[in-house]
């Protein structure tokens, strides 16, 4: 397994979204997935922290607050590697549009805010290819906070960055943590070709902007799903 698979050898396209919790990125990428599926394109969706090989261990560890910054980084790296090796790369080779809710940038931001060595974090993810398109759903921290707090399940310990010890008050800790993550995205937006989307605008407008961007950057006809044999003309 080569560490860096060249984009040229993979006909598929990789589209990723980044942003704070509550920025609306998951809703938006979910709608894009539905749109592409319904239009008959080869599309695959993957999200952060969802590998069946790792996820249950991560969940249990979070519940019992067993993760340090180092193991937090590594367990998420493991989760990503599994999805990358088993799904993202093969599907890109097979000419799919792969939609990824969060990508390596999430790790770059969160793990360094947690105090991990930034060089080490980037090294860990060096096997991951650059996406063809990354949208940063930019919202002010206060907006993210009000949306995240409004969720029924409330703020969890690690989402709020309680493990770092910024504050014993979860809302205050969340605000400090997310502010630092937001600043990390801001810095990365100068280093990587992020498309910045104003995520305070109405959801429908955001969706149109997202779809326009995809139509502009991809020749969608290349990603049409082959018709099922029964539908083929005689």
């Amino acid at each position: 397994m080569a560490i860096e698979d060249s984009k040229a050898t993979m006909p598929g396209k990789l589209i990723t979204v980044e942003g704070l919790d509550g920025s609306g990125k998951s809703t938006q990428i979910g709608l894009v997935k539905r749109w592409l599926e319904l239009e008959g394109y080869k599309v695959f969706f993957t999200e952060w922290n969802s590998s069946p090989l790792v996820e249950s261990a991560t969940k249990a560890a979070k519940k019992r607050q067993m993760l340090s910054p180092t193991t937090f980084a590594l367990i998420h790296g493991t989760d990503f590697a599994d999805r990358y090796e088993r799904q993202i790369v093969p599907l890109l080779h097979a000419g799919y549009i792969v939609l990824s809710d969060r990508y390596v940038y999430t790790a770059y931001a969160r793990d360094t805010v947690r105090g991990c060595d930034p060089v080490w974090i980037r090294h860990m993810y060096r096997f991951a290819r650059q996406p063809d398109l990354t949208l940063w759903f930019r919202v002010p921290v206060d907006v993210s906070l009000s949306r995240a707090v409004g969720r029924s399940r409330g703020l969890n310990y690690y989402e709020a960055g309680m493990d770092i010890g910024f504050s014993s008050d979860s809302t205050e800790s969340y605000r400090i943590f997310q502010t630092k993550v937001h600043e990390a995205y801001e810095r990365m937006s100068h280093e990587f070709p992020f498309y910045i989307l104003d995520a305070t605008r109405p959801a429908g407008e955001q969706q149109q902007e997202f779809r326009d961007l995809i139509r502009k950057q991809l020749d969608l006809t290349q990603y049409l799903r082959p018709r099922a044999p029964a539908e083929q003309s005689p």
Partner: protein, 236 residues
């Protein structure tokens, strides 16, 4: 300005673990490497008996034993579905958790930590699978450099005989079946174990491993293990 003691300087392979201060760790870290059935657990038991008889407290650690992911990783490996990058990162997660929760507390309490395999096995396994050595070594940059590494060297044919004699079957991963293309499982075991062995022998001079011929009686091997430990590290 640093108050250097006469004892070994502790170091990380890379950036390390930010919140752990190595200066306070005065114990010793002894690693026993080698393939399955090379006699690692026997040697660790004998080494521990000797250390405890001499008055040194010891602690043990090994791959896939973390509270965090040890059990899960063992389960997942029954499903034969880990890619090489995932494999390494999973082992790294497991080891990092043990460094933080077993090795560091033990070293801080002046214990001798006996590690049944360490970073080197996942590194060797990955290199054999074509993963870039610089990447995998960098991932393990959080790990503490051990005081001594002993590699129990046993020829693959002898290993196969021992494994089959004990278990009557060859393990999927230890036979390299995930990267196997042709021939039967026995042939795969032999060629895979030989590749791993060559990695260890190549690493030995660079990393300062002590290669110990494991194809001898356990007592003879134990004597050499003990002599090597005594001559290479000063016990605290």
């Amino acid at each position: 300005m640093t108050a250097t003691t006469a004892t070994t300087q502790r170091a990380y392979f890379g950036a390390g673990i930010p919140e752990i201060n190595l200066v306070t760790l005065r114990g010793r870290l002894i690693v026993i490497e080698g393939p399955d059935s090379a006699g690692r657990s026997t040697q660790i038991r004998l080494l521990r008996d000797w250390l405890e008889r001499s008055g040194y407290a010891s602690a043990q650690t090994g791959l896939k034993r973390s509270r965090l992911v040890g059990k899960k990783l063992q389960d997942v490996m029954q499903g034969y579905s880990l890619g090489p990058l995932t494999f390494s990162l999973y082992y790294a997660t497991d080891l990092a958790d043990q460094i933080e929760n077993v090795i560091v507390p033990a070293l801080a309490a002046d214990f001798i930590v006996l590690a049944d395999r360490y970073v080197y096995t996942p590194i060797a396994r990955d290199v054999v699978r074509g993963v870039e050595v610089r990447w995998i070594e960098g991932v393990f940059g959080f790990a503490i450099v051990p005081d001594v590494v002993l590699y129990l060297d046993v020829k693959p044919e002898v290993l196969a005989e021992r494994v089959l004699g004990n278990l009557h079957y060859l393990d999927y991963w230890e036979s390299g079946m995930d990267i196997h293309r042709d021939g039967d499982m026995y042939a795969s075991f032999i060629s895979y174990q030989q590749q791993i062995r060559e990695q260890f022998i190549a690493m030995a001079p660079k990393k300062g491993f002590h290669i110990i011929d494991g194809d001898r009686d356990a007592e003879v091997v134990a004597q050499e293990v003990k002599d090597t430990v005594e001559s290479t590290i000063d016990l605290p």
